[in-house]
């Protein structure tokens, strides 16, 4: 194997491919990145941990096709440190030699025949705007659980119904729902999948940020349930999380007799300030009355803080308390100028939606449902 490649292109591709490599690989070869040079002038870099696979294709001048397996982390470190000159990569015996300007590195190869076969990218199911995907995933994944003992809840539920995708996640204390549109490959396509929030976030960030389109492929019910994403020569596949996601949509309240509208950014800033005195797991209270909301935290002998903001209240006065972090997560995810909080009862879940003006209508595209904190009696 022998090829010459642009330094920046290589550094970028290796970094992306190696980013999901396990810190403690179950088998040594899984710490590797497989380099495949084919005669048509395409280099494919690949990584796989039996759950997530990544493949990146880049153009190169291939003098001699071939395949090699080297330590992914080391190759990424080297690629990033190289001077800005063309990079030559050659296999010499059991070693890979990387030359760039006056720098020369020799890396040991690992047996490429021991490397597992990467899963095939599932057939194209549809196409989604990268920007829309990135935003939607960021909004939903805040509510996903990070508790590995609840594997089901570390996933984001993806429901596809024709041109509409619904993303859902919950850690049992809050629930985020986001709807977006896409272009299915076949009209009337429907599917349901559960994807690890961590993987989805990573994919959305690395593939969606280019601003182009992301191709999505989904294969379910064929033994190995897999989702695949592709954009700009980068492919990634991930196994789906197994199991029945709880029926969570029913948790959204049918009717909310009380609602309040507050400027989002002002509320975020006030909540941040007031929560400075809220110790871990202690709540921040929001007391809504006509024309205002008063935030306060801390009690008894502890430090206390309070702040008042203008707000529109429709319905009776109401006071609710939230975990400050959960409140801030929801407010920050909204991304609209105003936030609407809809209430049924001080102890029942509160729905957060976004709206563009103080007296406008709220949008149902993104909904964040949060359980208030109750004071133990």
């Amino acid at each position: 194997m022998k090829f010459r490649v642009d330094r920046d292109v290589l550094a970028d591709a290796v970094t992306w491919t190696a980013r999901t490599l396990p810190a403690r690989p179950p088998a040594p070869v899984l710490a590797g990145v497989r380099i495949e040079a084919d005669a048509t002038g395409v280099i494919t870099l690949a990584s796989f941990d039996y759950e997530v696979s990544a493949r990146s294709e880049i153009p190169a001048e291939v003098a001699e096709p071939g395949t090699a397996l080297v330590s992914g982390r080391l190759l990424a470190d080297i690629a990033r440190a190289l001077p800005h000159k063309p990079v030559d990569v050659t296999v010499e015996g059991t070693k890979v030699v990387v030359t760039c300007g006056a720098s020369r590195f020799t890396l040991l190869t690992m047996p490429v025949e021991d490397y597992p076969t990467l899963p095939q990218m599932p057939e194209l199911s549809g196409t989604v705007s990268g920007d829309a995907l990135t935003l939607a995933v960021a909004q939903v994944s805040v509510a996903a659980s990070r508790d590995e003992t609840l594997p089901l809840l570390t996933g984001v539920r993806v429901e596809i119904d024709g041109e509409r995708i619904t993303l859902l996640s919950t850690d049992r204390y809050r629930l985020a729902l986001r709807e977006l549109t896409w272009t299915p490959a076949t009209p009337g396509f429907t599917a349901v999948a559960l994807v690890k929030a961590k993987t989805l976030t990573d994919v959305a960030k690395s593939l969606g940020s280019g601003g182009g389109l992301v191709n999505v492929g989904l294969s379910t019910g064929t033994g190995m349930d897999l989702i695949g994403f592709e954009a700009g020569g980068r492919h990634t596949t991930s196994q789906l999380v197994d199991g029945d996601y709880p029926a969570v949509r029913r948790l959204f309240p049918d009717a909310t007799p009380i609602h309040a509208v507050v400027p989002t950014q002002a509320l975020i800033e006030a909540a941040r300030r007031v929560s400075l005195v809220a110790e871990r797991n202690t709540p921040i209270r929001l007391a809504f009355s006509e024309g205002q909301v008063v935030l306060d935290a801390g009690q008894g002998d502890d430090a206390q803080a309070s702040e008042a903001l203008e707000a529109v209240l429709v319905g009776e006065d109401i006071t609710v308390a939230f975990n400050p972090q959960f409140l801030l997560d929801g407010l920050t995810a909204l991304g609209t100028d105003f936030v609407r909080l809809s209430f049924t009862h001080p102890n029942k879940p509160v729905e957060f939606t976004g709206q563009e003006s103080l007296d406008g209508e709220d949008s149902a595209d993104y909904r964040y449902l949060l359980v208030p904190i109750r004071f133990a009696g």
Partner: protein
Amino acid sequence: MSKAPRSASANRDWGSDESGTSILHVDMDAFFAMCELARRPELRGLPVIVGGQGRGVVLAATYEARAFGVRSAMPMVSAMRLCPAAVIVPPDHRRYTEVSRAVMATMAEITPLIEQISIDEAFMDVSGARRRLGPPTVIGARLRAQVQAAHGVTCSVGIARNKFLAKLASTHAKPDGMLLVPDGASEAFLRTLPVGAIWGVGEKTESLLARWGITTVAQLADSDVATLQAAVGRVHGAHLHDLAWGRDPRPVVATARERSIGNETTFGVDQHDLVVVQARLLELCDQVAARCREQGVVTRTVSLKVRTNDFRTLSRSRTLEVPTDVARDLYRAARDLLAAVDLRGLPVRLVGVRAENLVERDGFAEQLTLDEATSSRPSARREAELALDAVRERFGRRAIGLGAGGTSVARQRPEDRGDNTRDSRHVNMT
């Protein structure tokens, strides 16, 4: 019961100057055993051992039993060999806790500056109580009389200028005595002691020091600090030298509440079957959660302790997302911790659960889940366990418990299996 070496010559009148000595160390004498004698006077004068059956350890022994060589933490089997005539009494931790709390309450009438360091030991700083109640010896004598009159148990009191000396004084006052070590006599008192009497000098340090010819506190005090540091390490060496001169800057820090609640069980027969271990874990969680509720606290951290039959002890802990006093929540964490422990295929000898990081439940903010918040009975699980508490209150602790729905072994009572369960409480130590 203290195993620290004592010196017969240290228990004498060291003088009556109480001006610089405001620290009291109050130590209950053979506490668990005395609690039993208090309610069973017919046992007075007999060797009595408090401990579990079979493979348990001695939790306490009367002085009559100690005369045979019985010591705390000794396996019951060895204790019974030393003293076959001993009366064995199974432990009743609930009662010991009650008595302990009552004694601490008596102390709290003297001063709020009480630092409880275990169920049967506490330091007091009476400097603020002198004008009101008299000199420390008067306070100590009255406290001893009150405790004996009210609870039928005795305690020993050490009075000195700091915690280190006060504790040594009470050790030498035992049993049922009081010893004042005046400020001016502190060094002389210390110089009568062997090095092993010093807190923090165990067998290892003792043998390290012995290699340098240091076997008494007097030799320790007269040694060069650098020599000591060479012998036992820089920090430890300097510390020991300070102690040998009676220097202990630690103040008495008032402790308000228990910092952890735990129960553990030694299986009658080492357990290979993880299902049985899990079932026991659930029972322990049930007991620990009930005690949390009884004391009005919720826990943030659950810790698991497992000992395999090679006596390797593993401890793992997990901080919960939401503090709890519900057994099911404790169990979920404890079971996961157990599943993650590598037992190397060995059978389990002991398993224990501890609730740590306790906070008052009163006024505590509770983050319910979406399911709980939207159901008509938000705290169904907790209510179920409160119902268990009510049944136990009425029909006794063993009347009802949480079940794993598991094997018949799991449903047997611990005492039928020859297992030993004990609870323990840890109080903040400085």
